[in-house]
């Protein structure tokens, strides 16, 4: 059946090979004198300007999985899937000032990861370790999900065979190439490839939102078709508008996801790689261009309904893989060559975030586990080397997740990932503003939020699953007499904050010793051009003062 898709396959493969070549060449782009340093390999020299940061962070936050899963959600549930729009509006004003502070303090102290910051701010290796492990655990399934994005495309092109190996071979090859150029070029590879990826995505989506409504009879008809479909479905919570019961879920999910997004280590990697505070602030105004794109992509779900798209069958008998609706829509409505371009956009769209995520996870391991616990006197060159190798291990792990486990398992883990990464909010985000919290209280709050979040997710059932059926927790399980639902992450992080605050008061009253604070107030305002060297006496005894820029 792949013969029917020959043109698509050729276009896809050609574009894929083009960006792979770019990935290898990227090592020479803005080349440093010495690549054997984590600031170079893992942060691209900490010198990216406005445009590169825009492409890099945009390519990183709006992943292939987003492009595939958000329209799939809109296709299946309607208005609820549109939460991605308020989510990505709220986030930029929310982190406008926070990230500038993080950039400044990281710049002064040479921090590479959020856990580095926590280590210094709260003088607590344990809290830093928890933040690092939380970050790694939350990021791993996210990488695996990028593969789900590529797989949806490959499946539509018919290049996936029946046996386990044949089904996954194209993905294994794609990831081996990705792993090789990330190893060689570090963050420069995704930064360079992001230009191609985003250009392709913008072209494809603009064509799609202009051409498809014209072909399908206009937006009025598209919404009418969607409305008719949801009216006919037995599910009470779908529809082209929200109802009284899912509005709270919509709002808390949008807000909670926004809080979580910039706690993910990979989003911070892009921010820390930028040149100065101005670059970050200007990007907070420019990144919403991607939100507009995402909103239009979400509407592809309704276009798929109007075009009568039927999703391809899933991995198990009788199930449907809703992630295939966008690729199938393109296959059905576009000429073959353009569908090939669209598939390449999604496929390459998976590579950029997967590379950045694996770099971020590798940096966490290197800085906060390897250097902290295994080898305190590691040189910058050793650090860079450990990170490079870890990035390979992380990708092998992600591929193994997809090949050996049900993809549903990765989706579950991703759901959990959003909830658990939120539990680092008090230490990382509030820690940028205040040192009021006691380090012991933060650890207890983290544990409480984690435990409650897990329990709540376990309790959520869906029509097909008994546990881990989603993130919409029915409030009646708390004993409220209401059919409303709420996003698990918000409840868990509120409990986390309450525990941390109460215990801080208790520990202070009991005069339990707290750690110090190795950052100074004016560290949070430093900008490009000011003193760049980590102050020697105040940093770790084992760590040599090293230049940051």
């Amino acid at each position: 059946m792949w013969q029917d898709h020959l043109t698509e396959i050729i276009v896809f493969t050609a574009l894929f090979l083009l960006v792979s070549a770019m990935g290898f060449v990227a090592a020479r782009w803005r080349a440093p004198k010495d690549m054997a340093h984590l600031d170079e390999w893992g942060l691209g020299g900490r010198n990216f300007g406005g445009w590169i940061t825009w492409f890099l962070v945009g390519g990183d936050l709006y992943t292939a999985y987003t492009f595939v899963a958000v329209p799939a959600l809109v296709f299946g549930a309607g208005a609820m899937g549109f939460f991605a729009v308020p989510y990505t509006i709220v986030i930029y004003p929310l982190v406008f000032l926070v990230l500038c502070r993080l950039w400044s303090v990281s710049h002064r102290h040479g921090f590479v990861t959020p856990a580095d910051f926590v280590r210094s701010r709260f003088d607590s290796p344990v809290l830093a370790l928890l933040v690092a492990i939380t970050g790694i655990v939350a990021t791993m399934p996210y990488i695996a999900l990028q593969l789900v994005g590529i797989e949806a495309v490959l499946k539509t092109m018919g290049v996936t065979g029946e046996s386990t190996l044949a089904r996954h071979l194209p993905i294994i090859v794609a990831f081996a190439i990705l792993a090789a150029y990330t190893y060689q070029s570090g963050l420069r590879a995704p930064a360079l490839i992001a230009f191609v990826k985003d250009t392709l995505i913008y072209v494809v989506i603009l064509v799609a939102v202009l051409w498809l409504p014209y072909k399908l009879g206009g937006w009025g008809d598209i919404f009418a078709a969607a409305d008719a479909k949801f009216d006919a479905s037995p599910n009470p919570n779908d529809g082209i508008l929200l109802n009284a019961n899912n509005q709270l879920q919509y709002v808390t999910l949008a807000f909670g996801s926004a809080l979580a997004l910039f706690l993910y280590p990979h989003s911070l990697t892009g921010v820390l790689a930028s040149r100065n505070r101005d670059v970050i602030k200007r990007n907070m105004s420019a990144l919403p261009a991607y939100s507009l794109l995402l909103g239009l992509i979400a509407l592809l779900g309704f276009m798929a309904i109007a075009a009568g798209v039927a999703p391809l069958p899933g991995a198990t008998e009788g199930s449907a893989d809703s992630n295939t609706i966008v690729p199938v829509l393109f296959d059905q409505e576009f000429p073959d060559w353009f569908a090939g371009v669209a598939y390449a956009a999604i496929g390459i769209g998976a590579l950029v975030p997967a590379a950045i995520m694996s770099i971020a996870a590798a940096n966490l391991f290197t800085r906060n586990i390897y250097k902290e616990y295994l080898r305190r006197d590691a040189t910058p060159a050793q650090e860079a080397n450990v990170s490079k190798i870890t990035s390979l291990v992380v990708k092998v792990g992600a591929v193994a997740c997809i090949v050996f486990l049900d993809p549903q398992f990765s989706i579950d883990l991703q759901l959990i990932g959003g909830v658990i990464i939120l539990q680092t909010l008090p230490a990382v985000a509030l820690g940028l503003y205040t040192r009021w919290f006691h380090r012991g209280a933060l650890i207890a709050g983290w544990a409480a939020g984690m435990g409650l979040g897990m329990w709540m997710l376990y309790q959520v059932s869906s029509p097909t699953r008994k546990h881990f059926g989603g993130s919409a927790f029915p409030l009646e399980k708390f004993g409220f007499d209401t059919p409303r639902t709420i996003y698990v992450g918000i409840v868990a992080v509120l409990v986390n904050l309450a525990v941390a605050a109460l215990l801080t008061l208790v520990l202070r009253a009991a005069k339990v010793r707290d750690g110090g604070d190795r950052t100074a107030p004016d560290d949070y305002f430093a900008d490009e051009g000011d003193a760049r060297v980590t102050p020697g006496e105040r940093s770790d005894a084992g760590a040599a003062p090293e230049p940051v820029a």
């Binding site: 709220v90 508008l241 100074a520 560290d523 051009g529 003193a531």
Partner: protein
């Protein structure tokens, strides 16, 4: 307490604080998209889009306008 390097002392006071009353404006694009009562309706339609969809897409412009305004107003004097 302070960082040991006293370089660029003249620039320090002007850039040392990022407090500004303009920052309060950032609350508008944070709060507005989280009030479903405003956007959860069908009419009026614009170009066939129900209010739910066009209004939320329009909020993106509110967000861009606010962050741009705040950036311009809080930028350090003689900015690049």
């Amino acid at each position: 307490m302070a960082a040991p390097e006293p370089e660029a002392p003249s620039a320090a006071p002007t850039r040392a604080k990022d407090k500004s009353p303009w920052n309060w404006l950032l609350f508008i694009p944070i709060v507005l998209p989280l009030i479903p009562a405003f956007f959860n309706g069908d009419s009026p339609r614009v170009l066939g889009f129900p209010r739910f969809y066009w209004l939320q897409l329009a909020y993106i412009l509110v967000g861009v306008a606010t962050t741009t305004l705040v950036y311009q107003m809080t930028k350090k004097r003689g900015g690049r």
